[in-house]
Amino acid sequence: MTGLRHWLKEGAAQRWLAGAALLAALALVVGLVVVVVTVSAGFFWPRPVLELQLRDGSVVLGEEWGREDDPTEAGSQRVRMKVGNRDVLGLDFRWVREAEVAARRTPAAAWLLERREYGNFYGFPQALRSPTGSVAVTDPSFQVHLDHALAETRRLVQEEEALLRRASRLHEPVARLRLRVAAAERAGRDAAALQAELEAATRREQTAAAPLLAELAELRGRAAAFSLLMRTADGSERELAVSSLLRVVPANRMTTGAKLALYLSRWVEFVSGEPRESNTEGGIFPAIFGTALMVLLMTLVVVPFGVVTALYLNEYAGENAFTNAVRLALANLAGVPSIVFGAFGLAFFVYTVGGGVDRLFFSDTLPTPTFGTGGILWAALTLALLTVPVVVVATEEGLQSVPQAVRDGARALGATRWQTVRRVVLPYATPGILTGTILAVARAAGEVAPLMLTGVVKLAPALAVDTTPPFLHLERKFMHLGFHIYDVGFQSPNIEAAKPSVYATVLVLLGLVVVLNLAAITLRNRLRRRLRSSAV
């Protein structure tokens, strides 16, 4: 017993328990990052297309998407197969019990087609129809013809999109006139002249648009001439328009180099493309752009605000009640939950200020709100309020790292306090300000709750920066990486199909945040080393 008491007093058990706690904490963070990286990185890697022949005679063609224990039969497993073909089968995932599988093959001829609509298509190519005729898959020139068809339809689709953009731009003067007519009617003014102008403008638009629409129809007709005949697993044939295909992947005949090229191209498409199929496929470029623009606007507001406050606290403040109040206010601001900022942003920025702006400047379009609803400006201002303490703390650290000797030297040479600050202190403190900015940006990229109330949406119809004047539309809603994860992960109609997209977004967001934080940490370490060396 005394041996036990002695051993407990010595503390080896307690030391080991504390060590286990540390390992647990580290394992949590490492495990999280490792899980995210391994799961996300693997989704875009091309998988083989399997053909399963079931005991009841039916055939299932698709990619293996996951395994788990079969709940109906102990000791056996079931496989989740992505069978695609949503337009034919209705569901694009199904469970297949291992007990049902009679034979499993990877047919060399099986293809995976990535489409603009309805997701993936799995099948066997039969023939290609083009204006010059039909080419069977057995023909040696099939691949050449297919590549030509894909390139041609891609070009036609791009021309169609350009035409549509031109046609929509033609409509703008008509839309503006319509608003003016409505405003005049509401104000009780005589709108007859404006009405006549509107009718003339509408006629002009129609005459101008007619040739465009005719050209569009012609382009569509030419694109429709290319179609690919595919046979599905159950033997039926389907004709797919080549213009609806994004990629043709001969999944079981790819070399490692080809797989790597496809993997990288999928990542490039993900980072630079637009979302499709209710955000479950496609790219997240609008989300990246929205996050970046919102963070930029926020930085423009928070950096001056934070730097000025830090300057006040460090250079200009005396030891009085006012300074203590400011420090207390800052500490409280840092501790306020982010959703309270969101509620404040909604109640004050959106409804009060935005409503006022609408009544003063945009009363024509009321009751449809312009600024009286969530938007990128209000979201940026809300997040600026949220991240001010981060910038202030980092800037203060930077200001404190300035050696007192340098400050005193400047004052000794006759500089005023402002001249010292501007010419000596601020340049020295720039790394600290930069650290604060980076940390604020990293925080804003990850915060979602306040944005949900002040203007982030699942799918933004247009980016906040585009080619129509005034070019920067601060009232538009935007997409955000963090919200994208929440929305697609929890409010998506097809969560299984959305998994690659959502995990990849998690990887992008995590990568962004980690890179930003590492940059800030290295900057801060450099700053602290300078502080220690200068505190001699």
């Binding site: 051993w7 010595e10 080896a12 058990a13 030391r15 080991w16 328990l17 504390a18 286990a20 706690a21 540390l22 390992l23 647990a24 904490a25 949590l28 963070v29 490492v30 999280l32 995210v36 799961v39 605000f305 000025v308 406050t309 300057l311 006040y312 200009y316 109040a325 400011v326 206010a329 409280n332 501790g335 306020v336 939950p337 982010s338 309270v340 509620a343 404040f344 109640a347 001010v388 202030v392 306090r417 402002w418 600050v421 501007r422 990850g446 915060e447 979602v448 709750a449 109330l453 963090g482 994860i485 929440y486 992960g489 929890f490 998690v506 967001l509 995590l510 945040v513 934080n517 940490i521």
Partner: protein
């Protein structure tokens, strides 16, 4: 030596003063922002306190004797039925339009209107009881709006010997009127089925009311309240329930939704009754759910068509009450005497009264948030259909007669439940880890752990919540036994490993680098986890009959939700551990090394030095760290939104979900109408959240200051 350029000097000094002003102003801006945030949120939820008020809008005189009246929804016209059998449409300026009721012989003996103001029952000079539909519908011509009256008879009964008309009700197409008889009442109705239907009460009814579907009728006789069910084919209505009344009843009314019946009596008290399930299946009893005291006999009870407000008409005044909050809102000012009929406007934005002397009075009412009061927000409330007062959050329902249930208590309890489970998981781990890093670990380890913990702090909570909900919640559900068992087996294995390690000869132990000891700890923990998971299936079959969740439901009566407090505890823990760790580690490293060295020099082991010196000296910082971690857990939104079931349950079980204040705000505020009750209550919730985190932070600072004063001498 050239003289100093005075102009440049002056300019530099001016710039300096300007800069000082601007920068000081900038510093003040922070103070202003926080203050403004607080004040603005407070102002946005102050209107919740007001009970509303009514403003008199004057009166117009009419040249006939009024009986009953009804108002259109835009409050422009009051349709008054006079004793002359003519319906007069009286406008605000006093002008009126007259419409005769065909087939009605003046003078009318009596009349009454239903609660929607669209059906008028009258007994004409010949004694015939008739029901007329009076509908004032708006019609638009261009931008202008006019009013169209549609007036038609719905029920015409031959003259019958019966007592006064008690009530009228109905919907489009069918109508029913209750008439008092010496043995109870008689229901005359249109549509299929027998008419009249007798309601036998053994004594004459003094008041009555009908539901608009004509399926239920409430009667009040001298000492009793009775509920009848009117079936399809029976000629006699069946008595469903009865209850004795304390005072002689004078008026009955049905609150919107037709679940609660109001009884007004001669003493001036209004009681609310509802029919609930009795002790035996199929039996219903009448249960009194509220009492509204007052002075002055109740003449009529007029419910609002908008919500659970009602007007109680007494001899000389009219008061507004609200059912859910059980309170009197206010009294209509300048109420005239000898009022024959009064009612609330359809949109509850006004009221009108018609006097026997031929005056039509109007009031405009502003009642912003009648359904919310301090007691409904924080205390149990007896809602319609409930038999006991409960704390419920249910902000929207399927119909317009839904009773909004806004109790903040489930949200507050949910918030603290999540935060406490998070602290239960994260505080021991973070504090022990900080202790290890500062007291036992080599310097080099700190260089590794610091950035990793900062990385953990930087992880967006969306990512943590997403992984917790979509990856770990199903995993935990599949292996809940192993997860819970690991909480016991891992510490035991670690302690056993420590014992084994201590049993090794000292020479072997000394040769091992400190990082080596840590890897042994890791090996022991990993072995324990692997063993636990490997044995899980056998243990589940042995102890829980193969299925833990079924065992939980059957033996303990607790349901297991996939997204529950355990999952939230882990997920929130990931967010909170770095906060506590960083602050605790700072606190430990602020303990002067000289004190530790002195303790070691006196022969203490590292653990003894930590226990007797480091922990007490750092205790202010440790306490502050845990409190600030609690504040962070209370305010976290995304993790809770994703990893709980987001159900506003009031339960302390770790296997249920919860809804926290922050998640509720995030989900419901975007869809709450601006300026409405739900909007203001959610702003109040945000204010409460701010106050809670402020309180936690202040307590942390205060207690750590006090502890620093007590233990600070050690660290001096």
């Amino acid at each position: 030596m050239s003289p100093l350029p005075t102009r440049r000097l002056a300019r530099a000094r001016r710039l300096d003063r300007l800069a000082a002003l601007c920068i000081t102003g900038g510093g003040a801006l922070i103070l202003l922002s926080v203050g403004f945030l607080l004040v603005f949120l407070l102002v946005e939820c102050l209107p919740l306190l007001s009970t509303g008020k009514g403003t008199p809008e004057g009166s117009v005189g009419v040249a006939f004797v009024p009986l009953v009246a009804s108002e259109d929804e835009y409050r422009e016209t009051v349709a008054v039925l006079g004793r002359d059998g003519i319906l007069h449409l009286v406008r605000r300026d006093g002008s009126s339009e007259a419409r005769t009721l065909e087939g009605v012989a003046p003078p009318l003996e009596e009349a009454t209107v239903d609660s929607s103001g669209r059906l008028v029952a009258l007994r004409d000079g010949r004694g015939s009881v008739q029901v007329w539909s009076v509908r004032l519908r708006p019609s638009w011509k261009g931008q202008g709006r006019g009013l169209e009256l549609s007036l038609k008879p719905v029920l015409v009964a031959p003259p019958l010997k019966a007592g006064p008309i008690l009530a009228v009700a109905g919907s489009d197409g069918s109508a029913g009127v209750l008439v008092a008889t010496p043995t109870g009442a008689l229901l005359l109705r249109t549509g299929s089925g027998p008419s009249p239907v007798a309601l036998d009460a053994l004594s004459p009814a003094v008041a009555g009311t009908l539901t608009s579907s004509l399926a239920e009728a409430w009667l009040a006789s001298e000492g009793e309240l009775l509920l009848f069910e009117v079936g399809g084919e029976a000629e006699v209505a069946s008595l469903v329930a009865r209850a004795p009344l304390a005072h002689r009843p004078t008026a009955l009314g049905l609150v919107l939704g037709e679940v609660t019946c109001l009884v007004g009596d001669g003493a001036g008290v209004v009681t609310a009754w509802q029919a609930v399930e009795g002790p035996m299946a199929g039996l219903r009893i009448l249960d009194r759910s509220a009492t509204f005291p007052g002075q002055g006999a109740i003449r009529r009870l007029l419910p609002s068509q908008r919500d659970k407000t009602f007007l109680a008409l007494r001899a000389d005044r009219a008061e507004l009450f609200h059912l859910t909050t059980r309170r009197r809102l206010f009294e209509l000012p300048a109420f005239p005497s000898r009022v024959v009929w009064a009612s609330l406007s359809p949109r509850r934005d006004g009221a009108f009264a018609v006097t026997a002397t031929g005056q039509v009075h109007r009031w405009s009412l502003a009642i912003p948030h009648p359904e919310v009061s301090f007691s409904t927000l924080f205390l149990p409330v007896r809602y319609e259909g409930f038999t006991t007062p409960e704390l419920v959050w249910q902000s929207t329902g399927g119909s317009s007669s839904f009773e909004t249930k806004l109790s903040l208590v489930p949200l507050i309890v949910g918030t603290f439940k999540g935060a406490l489970y998070a602290l239960l998981f994260s505080a021991p781990i973070a504090l022990a880890a900080a202790l290890y890093v500062s007291q036992f670990a080599p310097r080099r380890l700190r260089l590794v752990t610091k950035p990793m913990v900062e990385l953990m702090a930087a992880l967006p909570s969306v990512v943590v919540g997403f992984l917790a909900a979509l990856l770990f919640a199903p995993l935990i559900q599949r292996h809940i036994v192993a997860v819970l068992a690991s909480l016991v087996t891992v510490p035991l294995a670690v302690v056993a490993g420590a014992a084994l390690f201590s049993a090794l000869p000292r020479t072997v132990r000394r040769r091992l680098p400190p990082a080596g000891e840590l890897s042994l700890v890791g090996a022991a923990a990993a072995a324990a986890v692997t063993l636990t998971f490997a044995l899980e299936r056998a243990v589940t079959r042995l102890c829980f009959g193969g299925d833990f969740q079924a065992w939980l439901a059957n033996s303990v009566g607790v349901t297991y939700d996939q997204r529950n407090a355990v999952v939230v505890g882990f997920a929130l823990g990931v967010a909170v551990i770095p906060v506590i760790f960083t602050l605790a580690e700072d606190a430990f490293s602020n303990v002067p090394a000289s004190l530790i060295s002195a303790s070691l020099a006196l022969g203490a082991t590292r653990w003894q030095a930590a226990r007797t010196v480091a922990i007490p000296a750092a205790s202010p910082g440790l306490f502050a760290a845990v409190m600030i971690g609690l504040g962070r857990a209370v305010g976290e939104t995304m993790i809770v939104l994703m990893a709980t079931g987001n159900t506003p349950l009031l339960s302390l079980s770790p296997f249920n979900g919860m809804r926290t204040m922050s998640a509720c705000i995030a989900v419901e505020l975007p869809e709450a109408p601006y300026g409405g009750t739900l909007y203001r209550v959610l702003i109040l919730t945000a204010l409460l959240l701010f106050a809670v985190t402020f309180a936690i932070n202040t307590v942390a600072v205060m207690v750590s200051n006090r502890l620093r004063r007590r233990f600070g001498r050690l660290a001096a």
